[in-house]
Structure formats: C-alpha cells, structure tokens
Amino acid sequence: MKAIIEQAKHHFHGGLSLDGHKQLSMQHAISAALIPDTLTVPLLQHIGRPATAIVKIGEQVLKGQCIACIKDDKNTVTAAMHAPSSGKVVAIEHCAIPGMLKQSVDCIMIQTDGEDRWHPEIQPIAEPFNLTRDDLKQAILEAGIVGMGGAGFPTHLKLVQEKPVETLIINAAECEPYITCDAQLIQEQAEKIIKGIQFILHALNINHCFIGIENNKPDAIQALRQAIESIEQPPTKQQCFIKIVQLPTRYPAGGEKQLIQAITGKQIPINKLPRDLGIIGHNIATTFAVANAILEGKPLIERVVTITGDNIAQPQNKWVMLGTNMQQLLDTCGYQKKSNDEVIMGGPMMGAHLDSADYPVIKTTNCVLVKTKPIQTTSLPCIRCGECARVCPANLLPQQLYWFVRSKDFDRVQDYQIFSCIECGCCDYVCPSHIPLVQFYRYAKSEIWNQEADKEKSDHARQRHEFRQLRIERKKKEDAERKAKKKAMLNKKQGIDTSAEDAKKSAIEAALKRVKSRQTEQSAVAKNTDNLTEQQQQKIAEVEQRRKNKTRQNNNE
C-alpha cells in the first residue's frame, strides 16, 4: 500500500512550544515486563461504571483469564478486566486508585506464582479479516480494551456506529513533554499497529484514515511508512489508504479537538462529539491492543509505560503488566527518592499528581514521572496581560473566566464556554502572576455540576412536598365524606329517617321564623280594618266570595 505523508494543512489556535525531554527515555528498546509478586487490578480503569468481579477469593487464575466483566447492558459504559499473570486471587477490597480525583474502588489482588501461564482459551482468531463487524466489536469488548491515551473510554463503544462515520483519526501526537511510550511502540511494532488500524477501519466500514503525529518523531514516522508500504491490501472489498499527517510540535496537538482541527480543519461544535461530525478518534496504542486482541486473542493485560524524570538513573520505556505497583517500577529504574519529589501519573502539564508511588499501573497509565516539587509561593493579582488568551487552544478567554469564577458568577462562566476548556494547563503555564488557573476552572465545573445535581434534588423534593400536601387534602376530604356516609348508614340502621328528620327540623325552623315575623308584622298591622262602612264590608264580602270560588276551582282542576 502506498504511504502518503504530508504536513498538516491547518492549525489550532494558541498552544506552547515546550522542551520535550524525549531523548531521556528513548535510549534503549522497550524492556520486557517484570512479573511482580502482587498485582492489584482495579475494577475501574476507564470512564464509566466499574466492572463486576467474577472470581472469588482463593480462586486460581491464569494469564489472560477474564476476572471482571460487563454484567449490565452491552451498551453501558464499562469494560472488562483480565488477570495480567497467573496466580491466586488473595483479596477483593476497596483501594485507592491513581487519578486526578481521590477515588477508591474495588480491586482484585492477585498473588502471582511466577509461572506466567496463559489461559488455554487464548488463541489467535482464524481468518480475522472475515469477521463481521459485530464480531469484531464483541472481540474487542471481551478483550477489555479502553482508550489508552489517558481518557480510558471503552473502545468497543467507539466502533460500530449508528451514525455513518467518514473519517478515522489515529492520535499519535504524544504532545506532552517526557512521554515517549507511543513513539517507541510505533518504532518497534509498526506492522501490528497498521493491522490494528485495518481492523478498526473494517469495524467502522470506512476505507481511509489519518494518523496525526508530531514532527519530532522522525523515526516513528519512517517506521509507519515502511509498515504501510509492506502490507498488501487485505482481502476485503474496500481498498484502504492511510495518510500520515505531520503536525508541528506544539502542545497540545494531541488534544482530540485540536488534532481534528489540525488534520481536517473542522471545529467540533460546542456540546457535540466528534462522531456528530462523522469523525472517530483512537489512540495509537489502542490500535496495537486491538491488533493483539484480534490476531493473537490476547486481552489488554500489559502496556508500555514511560518511567522518567528527575532522580531516575535509567529512564526508559518498559512493558508493564497492569496492576504492577508504581513504586516497584520506579525502583527497577534506579529511582533515588528525595524528600521534595513528587510522582505524577502522566505528563507534567496534565498529569495527575499522586501523593505517593504506592498505586497500581492501570490501563491509562502512559507515564510515571518523577519531578522535584516546585516551591510554593503566593500568586500576584491578575495583571490582564492577555497571555493566557494568546495560548489557549480552545480560543477561550481564561482571564475573564478567572474573574467570573472568583466572583462565583457561574452563569457568565458558562456563557464564556467554560465547558470547552480541556484543562491543558497552557494558560497556567504562561501566567506571569502564577495564578493556578486550571484549579479555578476545575472548581467552577464541579460547582456547576453540583448545583445542577442540587437543583434536580430540590425539584424532586418540591414535587414530593406538593404531592404530600395534595395527599393530606385528599385524605381530609375522603375522611369527611366517609364520616358523612357512615353517619347516614348508622342512622338508617337505627330506623330514623334522617332525611325526614332533617326535613322536619327545617319545617319547624321555618314555622318558628314565620311566627317571629308575624309577631313583628302584627305590631305594624293595618289600622283601617275597624269601623268599616257598609259599602266597604260588602266589597270585602264579594272579594272573599270570588276567592273562595277560585280556590274551589283550583282544587277541582
């Protein structure tokens, strides 16, 4: 297949040119994995919900055996876990896992027996290119593969899509300083990577992809080119081509949105995902894991980790079994601990600062970095220099966001698109007043989420309260009705016609009223009925007669 290499035609706004410190860890080939005594496999090494353990304490497990799987609906965001080596399950308990936030989840501890025996069911898949797309997705789901660039989104959910996908972008940028695991993996395993890409293309039903790679990795670019040119077209209907796009070495070129903009020139609209534009992105180490899973049937149980930084005698890239303790890893690389060191999982810009090295390596650990702790001093007020806006790759106004977060104006902060912030740390880096800007944005985001959660809760509580008041009203009404009915029934039983009784009562009352009114009337009675003349008396008698006749007539009718 012909390899196309070209320079990126577009660029993203801002960014920084940082010293890479890449040569430090690329002196040797990737060394083989050591088998540690214990492996701690957390059930959450990805975005989403933890997996469910399917092994029990005391059970013997073999290398590659599934020890935690997806028990929920296949489309839930979760991933499976596998035993990185053979041994015995000694504990399943809550442990702290490395990450940006202090989280602890259930972890399966395995005591290795040193034999490293593979599970017999781990076999290469025959005729991998004849697999259907759903079979591919299932194989990757069962292999527990997640995004290995650091995000950890389950890969199988980024394969077969309902919406049509037009472009596949492979992220080989590795823009953060110090990290070189992807670069070396490419140099050593380019062919497998290309095969992995082919599988993903097949799953997505498209025939071309872009590999975005920074131009400070010439060896890796050559390796990719050779690998692409050495493969024959697979026996599928589609002819695929793979284009290598060289990016200028600028942090954060590896940010998904920035990479997509640099390669395609398109900006992902706010609150949308790349797949809404028909683009899917995968990290290049993930494609290697996919190739392993399909070609050799191996689940994701080890990865390349860069161990580098200050005070490390032999900085290098190593194959590491997932669950290996980071402290052990550092010791094998000649780490001389100093009192003011700190361990970072990831790179110096976006990595998670850990309080110690006593954490297991997880699927998203691309680097274990040791740096001397910086001196803490007070920051100065913002001098409105605008450097932060100059370097922001999301084209935001970090300065304004900072002012709004300080005044806790979370509405304006959202107007200025704080959720587009990728927390890359560029603004933090250039601020002359040394204001910890990223911390402010993280605080704002968490406050906004908390406020939304609180609002939902309070809306729910209001509904319950209103319903309760309704219920009480209804109960009162029903009680009153019931009482009335019951009284009616009781009286009926006792033979009293309560309705007649009532009518009698009202008749008596009416009569009494009439008497009263008559009494008052009589005091104002007409005075001209006495001393009537004969004529008047005759007239009265006639009227009376007429009245009598009329009444008799009415009675007869």
Binding site: I375, T378, H465
Partner: protein, 186 residues
C-alpha cells in the same frame, strides 16, 4: 448676567421634567413570580427561615415581607441567585436563621423505634416509610435533612448523619485567599 441665570434655570427645569417623565414612563416593574423564587429555594421545607416551608417563604419574599438572606440550607448560592432574580444586592446569610451546614440526612435507630407514626406525619416530603406499629425507616435518598421529624419522636430514636456524597459528586476546593502558586525550578 440675568440672561445666563434665566437660560440655565430654564434648561434645568426642562431637563428635570424630562428625567421625571422618563422615570415614570419607563419604570421597570419587577414582578417576581412566586414560582420563580420558589424554584431557586432548596426545598428542604425546614422552616429555619421562620416560614412554614419554602413556598410560604417564597411568597413572603414576593410580597417583600421577607429578606433574601434567611435560608441557611440554600447558603450563598441561593442568596446570589435570588439577588440576581430580584435585582437586589446580595448580602451575607442572616446568622439569626442558622448557619449553612453540610448536607445531612436522618436515620431511625430500629431497636428503639416504637412505630408511633409521629415522625411520618411530620416529614414534609414523605421520606419515612412505615405504618402504625410497623417499623419506620427513612429513605435516605429522599430525605432533605430538614430535621422536622426529630422533635415529635417520643423515644428520640432519630439521629442525624452526614449525607453520603454520591460518587459522581466531586468537590474541588480552591483556596481563594491567599492564592498559592508554584514557582518553576528550572
């Protein structure tokens, strides 16, 4: 001299009339609907604001009988939101109504509960499950932490515990003053 005085006086009168007319004609009538105010309140129905529930408090605010800083569970966020809605200045929480505290829920000690249903009748959101002479239990996810069930309980079996933060709820604390920064060594 005289002309100057007359001219300025006339101008002053003219502008004064104009301003007065504009003030009356274009006056913005703020008509905060009680529903809008109620939507901003935390619905704890605790009564700490001295009104029997959130809705009466909202009505009092709308009638300008109550101030906006009387809700301790709502805290600063609610005061700011109310101030924004009503166009008033935000002010600090009135200490007389209580202090803003962490979210709590209650739970019933089942060994002590006698099944009298007094707490069930007191709960404004029906978060207590139970019936006469049957065990009473608080549904923690529905409990708003208003603590109205605690006084009626004759055996004092209801206890306050901190609300368990959901795993998704992440609180990132930031020191606002003084700000800390890190100086690079290299």
């Amino acid at each position: 001299m005289l002309t100057a005085i007359i001219a300025l006086s006339l101008l002053a009168i003219a502008f004064g009339l104009l301003l007065g007319f504009a003030a009356v004609r274009y006056k913005v009538k703020s008509n905060p609907v009680v529903d809008q105010i109620d939507a901003l309140l935390p619905q704890t129905q605790c009564g700490q604001c001295t009104y029997p529930g959130c809705r009466p408090y909202a009505e009092a605010i709308a009638k300008e009988e109550a101030d906006i800083n009387q809700c301790p569970p709502g805290g600063e966020a609610t005061i700011l939101a109310l101030a924004d809605l009503l166009g008033k200045d935000p002010k600090p929480l009135n200490e007389k109504n209580g202090a803003h505290a962490e979210k709590t829920v209650v739970y019933i000690d089942e060994k002590v509960c006698i099944g009298c249903t007094l707490c069930i009748q007191a709960c404004p959101v029906d978060a207590i499950l139970g019936a006469a002479k049957q065990m009473h239990t608080v549904i923690a996810s529905e409990c708003t932490g208003c603590d109205l069930c605690i006084p009626p309980c004759p055996v004092d079996c209801i206890h306050v515990i901190p609300a368990v933060e959901e795993k998704d709820k992440v609180s990132v604390k930031v020191p606002f003053a003084p700000l800390l920064f890190t100086e690079p060594n290299a």
